[in-house]
């Protein structure tokens, strides 16, 4: 293994790399060095600049400043294809091969061996088989790619990339949908690539995997490099504090347990036992009581959104059982979840939440109308009444209820989604990143609304990357890492430091 990098020459060197998008600085003067035979892991939360850095190196975007050196020579990748010709191959999370073609054809697409002016299919199959065997994969290469698991498909994509004489291999979240065995298998392939002197850049959200495979770790936050470490020098807590940009302070700004407790009932609204879905989240128990706010804390990709999707029926659990108010229920679809009185404000409101072309009023009554059935039409008068009521209650800033939602600010769009669920009067609300991308004023208001709803007796489950926010409103905090629930913090145990330590705990 070649981890004593300093003596060897760097394979890929990035100096002062910057990228500016119209509204933000995506990457600011970042340095990054990759040595041959090293696995260099890039970590960071949303918007840290990981994917921007990768896209600059692979020619998807073009840099606004800095230099990229490959084996000491400056390069200007124009496109992913050009980058590949230079020796930089990328394998993405969603495998970029042709599912309807055979494994062998995928490996040799565009560079098939020819004989007598014809594609030599026999040679393709033979060479592909041999190539894959070199990576411990003995499979039928004439079968369609789609007949193999994602892990195998990823290994095939890697093999293709490496066979195109790659010097640098970029793996962008390759393990997101793999289980433990499949990750092992992928890692054994990565280890054999290290021995061949290939430099590997790995992006992953799984901390345990970082500590298993990395030689070197670079932490990015808000487009800046905040740290570069040899694996041996680093502890998990250190890594997490760097990623989140927080200091570990002893029990500072502890949660103040107020008289809120009185309002909270102890009756559980929802209880799940041993809930799990293969490849998404390991079995967990969770109780959410009426009038209680439960925060889900963890890094990006730790399984927070997966829990929300499982409970709301967007994805179905393959293990465990759920109880609503003590009665066993089957949460097999969002429709059912809504019938039990659940509501979900999704993470990406642009994609999953608002319908931009529809008016504020129409967006607000959408869920209620769906719940009542489309034949049981809400009168226009009733619609106007509800919309006006919500615009007032949530301080939605809009000239009138007929304005298309897409013309509202992010914070007000978020309030419209909240309003949508509130008019259908749910007993249990799941909010996924309710304050992402909204301004400071709206931020404070939304948190006020959240607290008020809990006081009114609603059960709430909130996912947020803002630790301070979670500490502020949560009665209980569920801590997650690597698709696994690690534990819960309650009452005055809750502060930013305890949460970070819990995330890092072994």
């Amino acid at each position: 293994m070649n981890t004593s990098g300093q003596e060897t020459k760097p394979l890929l060197e990035v100096k002062g790399l910057s990228k500016v998008f119209p509204s933000t600085v995506a990457l600011s003067e970042v340095d990054f060095t990759l040595y041959p035979g090293d696995v260099h892991v890039l970590v960071g939360e949303n918007g840290a600049g990981k994917s921007t850095l990768i896209k600059l190196i692979t020619g998807v975007h073009h840099k606004d400043g800095g230099v990229i050196l490959l084996e000491g020579k400056p390069i200007e990748p124009r496109s992913p294809r050009h980058a590949q010709e230079l020796g930089i191959s990328t394998v993405y999370q969603e495998v970029n091969l042709i599912p309807t073609m055979s494994v062998a054809e995928n490996i040799f697409l565009g560079r098939q061996p020819m004989r007598f002016g014809m594609i030599n299919m026999r040679a393709i199959n033979q060479q592909a088989k041999q190539l894959l065997r070199g990576f411990g994969l003995d499979i039928d290469v004439t079968r369609n790619l789609s007949s193999y698991s994602v892990a195998i498909q990823q290994i095939i994509a890697i093999v293709r990339g490496v066979d195109l004489s790659a010097k640098v291999l970029i793996l962008d979240e390759p393990t997101s949908s793999l289980d433990r065995h499949e990750v092992e298998r992928l890692f054994s392939v990565i280890r054999s690539l290290k021995q061949r002197g290939i430099g590997i850049i790995l992006i992953t959200h799984f901390l345990d995997q970082v500590f298993e495979i990395a030689d070197r770790i670079t932490v990015l936050r808000n487009g800046h490099k905040v740290g570069e470490h040899r694996l041996a020098e680093l502890t998990k807590v250190q890594l997490i504090t760097e990623m989140l940009g927080k200091e570990l302070t002893a029990a500072l700004d502890n949660k103040q347990v107020t008289a809120r407790e009185d309002g909270a009932s102890t009756k559980p609204f929802l209880e799940v036992r041993g809930f799990a879905r293969h490849g998404m989240i390991e079995p967990f128990n969770l109780v959410i009581r009426q009038g209680e706010i439960v925060g889900l804390a963890g890094l990006l990709g730790s399984g927070r959104t997966e829990i929300a999707h499982l409970i709301f029926g967007i994805d179905q659990n393959d293990q465990g059982e759920a109880f609503v108010k003590g009665e066993q229920v089957n949460l097999s679809s969002p429709r059912k979840a809504i019938q039990y009185g659940f509501g979900l404000c999704p993470e990406d409101r642009k994609v999953e939440g608002i319908i931009g072309e529809l008016s504020v009023r129409e967006n607000i009554i959408l869920a209620l109308q769906a719940r009542m059935g489309w034949f049981n039409y809400l009168s226009r008068q009733k619609q106007d009444e509800l919309a006006t009521q919500m615009i007032e209650a949530l301080h939605i800033v809009t000239p009138d209820a007929e304005k298309p939602v897409k013309e509202l600010s992010g914070g007000n769009q978020q309030k419209v989604i909240l309003a949508r669920w509130l008019v259908s009067n749910p007993e249990f609300l799941i909010l996924d990143e309710p304050t992402r991308g909204i301004d400071v004023g709206a931020h404070a208001e939304i948190i006020q609304i959240i607290k008020r709803l809990a006081q009114e007796g609603k059960a709430m489950m909130i996912i947020s990357s803002e630790l301070a926010e979670i500490v502020d409103y949560s009665d209980r905090v569920v801590v997650l890492r690597d698709r696994k629930k690690l534990g819960e913090l309650e009452g005055n145990e809750i502060n930013e430091s305890t949460i970070m330590q819990a995330i890092a705990a072994n």
Partner: protein
Amino acid sequence: MRSRYIPLLMTFVVFVALYLIAYSRFSSFGSMRVVGNLLRDNAYWGIAAIGMTFVIISGGIDLSVGSVIAFTGVFCALMIGRNGWDPLATFAVILTIGTLFGATMGFFIHYFKIPAFIVTLSGLFLARGMAYVLSTDSIRIDHPFYKQISDLVYVFPDRGRFTFAAGMFLLILIVGIFLAHFTRFGRNVYALGGNSDAALLLGVPVGRTTILVYALSSFLTVLAGIVLSLSKQSGDSTIAVGLELDVIAAVVIGGTLLTGGVGYVIGTFIAVMTLGTIQTYLTLDGSLTPWWIKIVIGILLFSFVALQKLLSSRKRVQSAKEQLATAPLPS
């Protein structure tokens, strides 16, 4: 048996079954006379269907087929029949025009990101309009070359006739199979239809392949028009209206997925022969109007699409199961 061959096998089974039914009713289906006529009568749209197979495998569609055939017929009739052009020169000109026409459609589909449905629908109107502009009359072609071609026949012992059109159909079939499976162009077409984003990242020349696919389709459609012109010895701007829909139906019945990426030229050939067999049967039977062919096409088309849907959903369940059973680790 690989599941990817199942639709093709179904196509073949349906063909054999229908042919046997026809044979049990009319023993002439066992003669070269019927076989020769089947090939001759279905040659022109069969050739167009082979072109369409490539388009659909690439994930596209070509609605201009019927119009291009009509335009070709009128153009040939006008130039050869009225203006006295040399037939071979005329064919060369119209094939060039057609190929450029298809390439232009491919260009707009790729570079302007306009859906193929819209671009080729425009092509449909354009070509049909041009045919009418050239002539609204049916024009006869009276040229010795046309006579020579129609005399170019191999006669089987039972007086079955293997015509020029039939020969052309089989030739294009062989060329089509070769193109699809043994050239990089062919494999790129499959890749494009399988996952166009991935194809781009894998280095498939997506733009060039798209343009070539539509150029090929229009080239073969013009060739189909020439074959039809030779057999009809006339040109008429009102013919082949809606033929593209029969062609698309044949391609799908032949086992090609409308979503692209999967399909076989030979399947299209078998499907064309199947529909031809039904047509011949209905004509010989006489008790039903030949328009029943449309109803049969509808039923077959629906059954095949339903079958493909069933297969693909079953396969998804299967692969999910396979993923659950973890493969052993390499040691």
